[in-house]
C-alpha cells in the first residue's frame, strides 16, 4: 500500500490530469468511457471459471497480472536492452515472468486435465524465454489461456534450472505446504541451476507438486477429523493406522505408475481405473472406521501431533515420486 501512497503524493503535486480534457458529467459516462464494465466482466467470468477457494485473492492476482502485462508491455518490446543493462533489471524481469507463469498455473485445478495442460504449456513458454524471444506465447491484454506454444517454445533451450526450482517452491508454498514438508519432494525433483529443463520434466514436476499440495491438505484435514479439537495431539496408534491405510491406498493405485499420467493407451486406462477404484475402497469411510476401531483396542502409547502426521504422510507420497536425474 505504500506504493499507492507514494504514487498518490507524487501525482498530486504534479497536478496535470492525464487524458480527458472534458470531465464527464455523470458517473455512468465516466465508467463507460473508462471501460470499467468490460474490465470487471472479464474478471468475473475468469473468476467463476476458475472457482478458486480464494475468490478475492484470485481477483487480486488477476488484476496484478493484467497490470504488469499492460505496464510491462513497453518493457517487453525492448527485451534485449534491459538484459544488458545490469543484473537488477534482468532479475526483475525474470521475477515478473515467474509471477505470470505462476498465475497461469493457478488458473485450473490439476484434475481439469486439458485446461491444466494448456496452462502448463503457457507457463513453460513464458519461462522458456532466453533473451530475444519477445512475448512468449501470451496474448497482450490478459491471457486467453491456451495458445499453441509449439513454434515459440521450440526456440528456447528449456527453462533454466534455477527458475524451475523457484517455480516448484512457489507452487508448494502457495498450495499450503510448509517449506519443511516440501523440501524432500523438491530434492527429488530439482535440477541444477545451469541445467535446461525440458517440457516433459517441467510438466511432470508441476503436476507432482500440485497433487502433493492437495495431498498434504487432505492429510491435514484427515488429522483434524481424527483429532477432537481440544484433546490435544491424537494417539499414535490411531495416526499410524490412518497412515497405514493411506499407504495401502497409494500402493494400490501405484500399480501402473500413476505418475506418468498422459499416455492415452486405453488398455492401461482401464487397468488404472480399476486400481483407483480399489484404492479408494481402501480408504473408504467404512474401511477406515474399522481400522480405527481396531487401533483403539490395541496399540502403542504416546501421541502424534499434527506436524508429525503431516511429515509421515508426506513421506509416503514422496517415496513414490520418480527422481529427476
Amino acid at each position: 500500500m505504500s506504493d499507492k501512497e507514494k504514487r498518490r503524493s507524487a501525482a498530486i503535486p504534479s497536478g496535470m490530469p492525464a487524458g480527458k480534457a472534458v470531465k464527464p458529467d455523470s458517473d455512468r459516462e465516466f465508467l463507460a468511457q473508462a471501460g470499467v464494465g468490460d474490465l470487471l466482466l472479464g474478471a468475473i467470468l475468469k473468476m467463476v471459471e476458475a472457482r478458486s477457494d480464494d475468490p478475492v485473492g484470485f481477483l487480486a492476482d488477476h488484476f496484478c497480472n493484467l497490470a504488469s502485462v499492460t505496464d510491462g508491455g513497453t518493457a517487453e518490446c525492448g527485451d534485449e536492452e534491459p538484459q544488458n543493462s545490469g543484473p537488477n533489471s534482468a532479475g526483475a524481469l525474470e521475477q515478473q515472468r515467474l509471477n505470470r507463469a505462476l498465475w497461469h498455473l493457478r488458473l485450473a485445478h490439476h484434475s481439469q486435465r486439458s485446461a491444466f495442460s494448456n496452462n502448463v504449456r503457457v507457463a513453460y513458454d513464458l519461462l522458456d524465454v532466453t533473451g530475444c524471444q519477445g512475448q512468449a506465447g501470451e496474448a497482450p491484454g490478459g491471457s486467453d489461456g491456451p495458445c499453441s506454444g509449439g513454434p515459440m517454445g521450440a526456440g528456447g533451450g528449456g527453462v533454466r534450472g534455477g527458475l524451475y526450482t523457484q517455480t516448484l517452491q512457489c507452487l508448494c508454498s502457495e498450495g499450503g505446504v510448509p517449506a519443511s514438508t516440501s523440501a524432500p519432494l523438491l530434492q527429488r525433483l530439482c535440477c541444477q541451476d545451469h541445467e535446461a529443463v525440458p517440457y516433459d520434466v517441467f510438466r511432470y514436476s508441476v503436476l507432482t507438486c500440485a497433487v502433493f499440495s492437495d495431498y498434504i491438505r487432505q492429510a491435514q484435514r484427515l488429522y483434524a477429523e481424527v483429532c477432537c479439537s481440544d484433546e490435544g495431539p491424537v494417539s499414535r496408534a490411531l495416526c499410524l493406522t490412518v497412515l497405514g491405510t493411506l499407504k495401502e491406498a497409494l500402493e494400490t493405485s501405484q500399480g501402473c505408475d500413476a505418475n506418468r499420467s498422459l499416455n492415452t493407451n486405453t488398455k492401461s486406462n482401464n487397468t488404472k481405473a480399476r486400481r483407483y477404484l480399489q484404492a479408494s475402497a481402501r480408504i473408504s469411510p467404512h474401511n477406515l472406521a474399522q481400522a480405527m476401531v481396531g487401533a483403539q483396542t490395541r496399540g502403542p502409547g504416546g501421541n502424534m501431533d499434527a506436524k508429525e502426521f503431516e511429515n509421515a504422510a508426506a513421506e509416503l507420497f514422496i517415496a513414490r515420486v520418480k527422481l529427476v536425474s
Binding site: A11, I12, P17, V56, A60, S111
Partner: protein
Amino acid sequence: MSRLSAAVPAEQYLADSQVLFYLNDAVTQLLEHREEYTQFGLVRYFAEYFSSVKNSNHVLFREFSYIRATQHNRASFIRVFWRSFRQIGRSGELLSLLEYRSLLQLLCPDFPLELVQSAARMVLMDDATDCLMSFSDFIYAFQLQLYYQEFLESLLLVYQDLLAGKSPNTVIVPTSTSVEQLQSAVAEEENEKEERQQDGVETSTLSQCVEVLCDRFKSSHPSRSCMKEILEQTDKVSYSSFLLSLSKHESINQSIGALPSKAEVLIDPEMDQELDKLIAQISVSPSSNSSGSAVGGLKEAQRRASPRRNIHHRRRMEVESDGSTEETDSSEN
C-alpha cells in the same frame, strides 16, 4: 477443493464469495476519487484495491457500515485494532470503555458506542461499565461481539425470554412477539423466577435454543461444539458469563483467525526490533555512560533480544500476513 466446488452453481459461488460487494465498493470509491485514481490507470487501481482486501489492509479509516459488511472485513478490522494498539497491553495500562471507544474511533470514525458497551459488559460481567479493563480482556470480548454480532443479539433476546419464564418452545422466534404471547400459557420450569434472574438460566434449555439459532444463522455463529461444551460445564449460566467463556475459548479465536492466542497477543516483534535498535545505539555510542555494568547490561539485553527476535519473527510469519501496516497509521494522514 476447487474441483469439488465446480458443483456449486455460478450464482451461489458469486454470492458466497462476496466479490460483488467488493466490486461495488471499489467502483464507488473510484467514482468518489476519480481524479486521483485514474492517474495511474484503472487496472492498477483494481489490482491495489483487491490486493488490499486480500491482505486485510482495506478497512483502515473506512466507515462502520463497510467494516461490518462482511466477515472478512470484521476480522480484518479486529486485526488492525490489535496491531495498532497492542502496545497498550504491554504497558499494563487499564482503560475505560470510553477510552477504548476513542481508540476504535481513531481507526473508524463512526464506530458505534453500543458495540463497545456490549463488549465491556461481557468483560465486566455486569452493568458497571465505568470499570477499567485490560487490553487482552477487552480485545477478545470485542472480537466476539463484532464478529458474531447478529447471532449474539438474537441470543440475548432468547436469553431474556428464558429469564422471563417463557418455555423454550416459545422463544425460538425472538422477533415474533404475538406467537410468544399465545403460547406463554404453557407450563413453566420448576425453578422459581427469582433464582433465574440471579444465576441465569438452565444450560440445557439454553443449549436447545442455541441449536435452533445455529440452524438459522448457518455459518455466522460460533462453533456449535464449543458452545455445547461450555454449557455442559454448569447447570446454570448467565448471558455475560457464557459470552465471556466463549470469548476466551481458543478454538473460537482460531476459527475467526484474526488474533493470536492469549499468550501471544501482546507480542510485538516490530516494536521489539525498534527497541533493540535503540538499545544497540545507546550501548555503542561513545557518549553513553561508561559504567561497565550499565553497558554490559544493555549489551546483554541486546544479545538476549536476538533469539527472542528470531522466535518472534517466525511466529510473526505464521501469524501475520502482511508486515507493512505499521507505517500506515502515521502516514495515512
